[in-house]
Symmetry: C2
Subunit: 333 residues, 2 copies
C-alpha cells in the first residue's frame, strides 16, 4: 500500500480511504490511486486489515465431516444464504477424533471468524464449557447443549416418532432403529432419534425390543449396509427399518437387498434428514425433513443478533419436522 501511495504521490491514508470508499477524497485523486493500484497489481492484505479492525467478513462453519451429505448440503445452504449479505463462509472439519475437534474449537481458531456455526456431534458439555469465547456462536445441534449458547435444534424425537408411526401405519410390527442407541450419556442425535422410535412404539402399545436397536460407529452407508444384512442373516426378524440418517437408510436398503428382502414389500424403510439424493434412489426414500431452510434462516438470524449485540440473551430454537413419503414405505391402510 505504501508503494501505491508513493507512486500516486499521496499518503497511505488516502490510498486506504480510496480503497474503502470513504469520503473526503477528491475525484481526481481517487482516479489516480485506482490507476496505480491496477498498475502495480496491488491487493489488500486481509490479515492486516483484520488485525486492525477485528472484522473479517467471514463466518465459519464447523462440521464433523465434510463427506457426510447432511453437512455438505448444510454448508451449501448456508453459503448461499450468506452471500447476499456480503459474508463469506468457510468450512472446517472438526474430525472424528477428540483431539482434532478440540483443536478446531480452540478459541484461537474460532476468533478468526466474525461468527461461528458449530455443528459438532461428538462434543460434550465440558468441552463447550471450557471455551467462553466472545465470538458469536450458534450451535447447530443435534444434542442438548449448555443454555448459555444460542442454539438451533432439530426435532429429533418428534421426527423419529413421526417416522415410526408412519411405518406402523403401513403395517410394520418389528421396526429396527439402525444407528440408534438408548443408553447414551447425553441426548445426542442417535439416542434422541431412538427415543422418538421408542415413544412411538410405546404409544402404539408395543414393547421396544432392545434387539432392534442396532448401534453404528461411523454412521456410514457401508457400515449400515453390512450391519443390517448381518443381523438378518443372524435371524433377526424385521419388517421396518428406521435409519437414523438418510445415508444409513440408503445403506439399509442395499443391505436388505443383499439379504434377499425387498423394499417396501418385505421391509419398509424410512430415513431422517431428507437429503437431496433420497428422492432419487430406487425406491425413493421416505424421510423426515428437518426443515433445512428454516433452520439455516434461524441460525443466521441468531448469529446476526449476536453480531449486532454481544450481550443478546441466548435463544433456543427447535425446528419443525415433516414426513416426506416416498416409495420405500407403504401408504397407511
Amino acid at each position: 500500500m505504501s508503494d501505491v501511495a508513493r507512486v500516486a504521490g499521496v499518503s497511505l491514508m488516502t490510498v486506504s480511504n480510496v480503497l474503502n470508499g470513504r469520503p473526503n477524497v477528491g475525484a481526481e485523486t481517487r482516479l489516480r490511486v485506482l490507476e496505480v493500484v491496477d498498475e502495480l497489481g496491488y491487493e489488500i492484505n486481509l490479515t492486516a486489515r483484520r488485525l486492525r479492525t477485528g472484522r473479517t467478513g467471514t463466518v465459519g462453519l464447523i462440521v464433523p465431516r465434510f463427506d457426510h451429505q447432511y453437512y455438505s448440503e448444510l454448508a451449501a445452504r448456508i453459503s448461499d444464504a450468506l452471500a447476499p449479505e456480503g459474508l463469506h463462509l468457510v468450512v472446517e472439519q472438526s474430525g472424528a477424533n477428540r483431539e482434532r475437534e478440540l483443536s478446531a474449537l480452540s478459541l484461537a481458531r474460532l476468533q478468526q471468524y466474525d461468527g461461528v456455526l458449530l455443528s459438532a456431534v461428538g462434543l460434550d458439555f465440558r468441552d463447550l464449557d471450557r471455551i467462553h469465547p466472545d465470538v458469536p456462536i450458534v450451535l447447530l445441534g443435534e444434542q442438548d447443549v449448555p443454555d448459555r449458547y444460542h442454539s438451533i435444534k432439530m426435532g429429533n424425537v418428534a421426527g423419529a416418532r413421526l417416522a415410526t408411526e408412519h411405518l406402523l401405519a403401513g403395517g410394520a410390527q418389528r421396526i429396527a432403529v439402525l444407528g440408534g442407541r438408548l443408553d447414551a450419556p447425553h441426548l445426542d442425535m442417535a439416542s434422541s432419534r431412538a427415543q422418538g422410535w421408542a415413544d412411538a412404539l410405546d404409544a402404539a402399545g408395543l414393547d421396544p425390543d432392545p434387539q432392534l436397536v442396532i448401534p453404528l460407529e461411523f454412521f456410514s452407508i457401508a457400515e449400515a449396509r453390512s450391519a443390517i444384512a448381518d443381523r438378518i442373516a443372524g435371524g433377526l426378524a424385521v419388517d421396518g427399518v428406521l435409519g437414523v440418517t438418510d445415508e444409513i437408510a440408503i445403506g439399509a436398503m442395499s443391505g436388505l437387498r443383499d439379504a434377499g428382502r425387498t423394499v417396501p414389500d418385505d421391509v419398509q424403510v424410512v430415513g431422517f434428514d431428507n437429503l437431496r439424493v433420497s428422492e432419487h434412489v430406487l425406491p425413493g426414500l421416505t424421510s423426515v425433513d428437518p426443515g433445512h431452510d428454516a433452520m439455516v434462516a434461524e441460525a443466521l438470524r441468531l448469529l446476526r443478533r449476536q453480531m449486532e449485540d454481544k450481550g443478546a440473551a441466548p435463544e433456543h430454537v427447535v425446528s419443525d419436522v415433516a414426513l416426506v413419503e416416498r416409495g420405500s414405505t407403504r401408504r397407511p391402510r
Copy 2:
C-alpha cells in the same frame, strides 16, 4: 500476551518463547508462564501471528459447490491427509456464478492460506491469468489450464473411453452421454468426457450421434433424471448411458426407471468419479475411479514442493483411471 507477561513477571518475548516451545527459557519460568496463561485464559491471536510470520498453518480448498458429492469427498480426503502434517484445511465455495468465483479467487483471499488447492470448473484462462499470486497453488482440475500452474488432471478422456468401451462390450449400441457437450470453448470436464465417449465409438467403427449428447446445466441428480426421462419419452432410442458424473448416472437410473426402462437389462448405465454412495445404490453403479487417493497425494506433494521452494517448476500430473464394474452394466460377453 502482555497481561500474561506482566502477571508472570517476565517479558513479552519470554511468553512468546514459552508458547512456541522455543529454547532458552528456564524450566521454572516456563511453568510459571503456563500457569498464568491458564489462569487468565489467554489464547494467542492467530491473526497477529499470521501478520507477523506470514505463515498460517492453513491450506485452502476452493470448490464450486459444497454439495456436489465429488467435492465433499475430496475435501474430506484432503483434510484427512493434511492432518498428520499439522496443517488445517478450510474449504470455500466459489459458487456457480462468476462474480462469486472471482471474489473467492481474489488474490487477497488466496493469500490468507499457506497454500491453495483450486478446483474451479467454471474458471476460464483469463481469470487465472489475471492472478499471479505468490501463494503456492495447485489446480485440481478437470479442464486444461495455463502451463505456469502446477496441476493435477483427471484422466477424463481415457476414463470416459474406458467406460464407453465397457458399455459396448456389454452389448450396447446406442450410448447416450448425459451431461456431455462437444462444442465447448475449452476442454472442460463435460467436453473431455464426451470426447472419450466419441473416441471409443470411433474406435469401434460407430458414428457418434449428436442426438446422444445430452447437455446439462447444473449437473444435478434431479436435472439428470428428468433430462433422460424426457428424451426417452420423446422417442430417443438408448441402450446405454454414460453419466459424466456419478450423480448424473444416479439420476439417470431413476429417470430410466421413470421411463419404464430397467437397468441394466434395457439400458446399461455407467458413471464417473466412483463416489462412495455409488457402490450402495441399487443396482450398484459401474463407475470410473479417478484414483482419488493418488490424486490427493500428488496434489499435496506439489503443494509442499511449492511451499518449500517458491520457484519450483510447474508439474502437470494426470491421474490414472480404472473402471469399477458393478450391477448397472452387463459383463462383457
